[in-house]
Symmetry: none
Subunit: 224 residues, 4 copies
DNA sequence: GATGAATGAGGCTTCATTCAT
DNA sequence: AATGAATGAAGCCTCATTCAT
């Protein structure tokens, strides 16, 4: 048996649930909710099945708490970041996009959490609700706030898309899903993709130059 | 129960696999792969467990063939549609987007297939491969073709985003995921959302008017 | 499809049951009673499952009739052979042994039938009964008859073993079992083994009287 | 039902596998490998299905370990016995035969193990290999050793049969098979049959030289 | 607190048997 | 006669959960 650095009992005890949830994340990622055996979670956490039941009531509880625990790690600081934004609305929007895209697309935890929600949302509706209320809605609100302010300031045009802030998130979602589905086949460079998205978006949101007639006409056709 | 019109044996035999796969779709949607009992699939299809095994080797096979069968229903005609496109590159792009968004976001089959791929992709990698090769790649190719032609014709600018055609798809994906996750909470109007996306995209892809100085400067900043 | 020599319908029909039983023999040999699927028997016989049920009531019946049918092929002519024996009792005994050993040990059918009886005797007691009555008992009787006559004629001594004619059969059984169990590992030469057994037996049955020259000479002949 | 004395947990755990294997022996004897339900084994062992799978991976494993476990009970002490043999080669051979025949023919475990090997040898070839290597070959070697020594000492003649030591075992096999097949119909007295076999064998192996008085006297002793 | 032996419900899969064609 | 689609009972095996130690 390897010596393994011994921690004081009290400390180990306090960390047990977290260790279990971390192990659970890996196992649920590997096999999905139903196909994961609590025994494997226990083994990975270095405990036995019984111990899991000391801390969590059921397998469902383990899953729920694992998702909660994993989410917090990468999404709890949105508010702080948003309130620290500086500069023009354009640059604030850009900075927020870079921040959010990074969170959504770059982190394995985020991607797999998305997978959990999609795969098990039917079985765990409260999980989906929670994520909507705690992460999605606030994020949309932040974007909405900046965009509306930008429109008011004349930096953005009141494009129909501004009614659907979700649209700003969509490239991030695509990145995330792409990594989940085709990551091993055709990787997308997150930074480059993000820049390209921002470029497209900013151009799309740019106010219409009243002088530019040709462009305006073309647009009118699109809106019909 | 109505007396049910009896069909000739041969005819029923030809329809059985399809009936089973349709039933399987519903049940797998309801509970996911692992939690679905083949017995329930059988019951929904109006046969018994044994019959399923007469047509399919295992539960995994049923799932695979169900996904295949479901995919074909809504994606086999992309090529035909694409080659029937007429008009300017701008209007071709718009028409293709409307077509594709409709397929991806409007159909329950498509949405749930996406869920299947995300949820069970690890267990069924060939399914993901197949979808990439047969649906995703060809779709991306169609978009790429139109966009490049549009650039050559001066209708679109060579935006960095044109290197990532996936970006054009991202609003559709968002629509699809949104319906899967938050559909019951906050519905998105597909038509309006699609129009808004097109508006944003077209504006984003519009060629830079050399006269429009203000716009150009702003853009340069974005591209840095 | 290969042309396959066509037989007149009537003839084919008459042969069907036999073809099925032959196929059954091969399949039951391969997997044992329980693990053999009637479907495989049908496939080997070139018919479908339903056809088997046209000729036989149940799987058990197929097995029983197969054993019966197989036994007849190699054991029905004992009586004829026994009554055709000529010469001294010693040479009759030797000839009968050679005949019986050949039947028991040389034929695959015989060996596998023995395996069937041992493996499935509990489930098919009538099969065992039948074999005892029709093959074992008559065989023992033939041996007993010759041995008793030989004793009466002074060719054999009244060894205690003559009360257990089974003992004469034991080397044949060993040959058979050996082939079933260790045949692939260490083969036994049936002819040589048979000769050695006969030599040992004859010597063991030889009368003790040192004066009996004739007998002794005859024995030498056996040893060649 | 008696209140059943409760044993400490640790002690029960150590005994469980053995209890299960003993129960398995009885059930497999009753119905054969394929027709035995693990649930019945469990019931006989006083546990539930799940417990069996806690100790053994599959039904096949249960069978294999059961055969192993059963074999050891009656065959592990051949070496000890053989090396304790005393006296003339003739008497050593006789003693070994009595010992071996007793083991093979008298014990139900031995008989049924033979049945298992014959019936399931195809499905469990390693079991057959193991028995050959651990029991059959060593036994043949012991016999061969004594016989060759006896020949060298002039107690036995170099009969052709001495090249096939298996022949010495054949009456024991017959006894065993007889019990398996016809035991309920016509029982054979093992002791008497063994004595008769020994008498026949010794006579068959006796040196031919009429002058050898000592040997002849010894033989007479055997016949008593 | 932690262990791990034991439980037992539940699901996949097999296959003998039936029967409409 | 023959087919082969359909049935459904039955058994192997898994694993969440419990609980005595």
């Amino acid at each position: 048996m390897p010596p393994e650095i011994k921690k004081p009992r009290a400390r180990r005890k306090a960390e047990r649930p977290t260790e279990i949830l971390d192990a659970a994340f890996e196992e649920f990622v590997k096999s999905g909710y139903a196909a994961t055996r609590l025994e494997d979670v226990a083994a990975r956490a270095g405990v036995t099945k019984g111990t899991i039941y000391f801390y969590f009531e059921t397998k469902e509880r383990v899953f729920e708490e694992m998702v909660r625990h994993t989410s917090l790690r990468f999404f709890s600081d949105l508010g702080n970041f948003a309130s620290s934004l500086q500069g023009s609305h354009t640059s604030r929007l850009r900075d927020l996009i870079v921040f959010v895209y990074g969170r959504i697309a770059d982190s394995r935890e985020s991607r797999e959490t998305l997978r959990f929600l999609i795969a098990e949302g039917t079985r765990f509706p409260e999980l989906v609700e929670r994520h909507y209320d705690e992460f999605v809605q606030p994020m949309l609100d932040e974007f909405q706030r900046i965009i509306q302010a930008g429109i008011a300031a004349g930096e953005f045009r009141a494009a129909p898309a501004t009614a659907y802030t979700e649209i700003v998130l969509s490239p991030a979602l695509l990145l995330s899903l792409w990594a989940l589905l085709f990551g091993s086949r055709k990787e997308i460079d997150v930074a480059v993709f993000t820049d390209a998205s921002i470029d497209l978006l900013m151009r799309g949101l740019a106010p219409t130059d009243p002088i530019n007639r040709a462009d305006h006409n073309q647009l009118a056709e699109t809106e019909s």
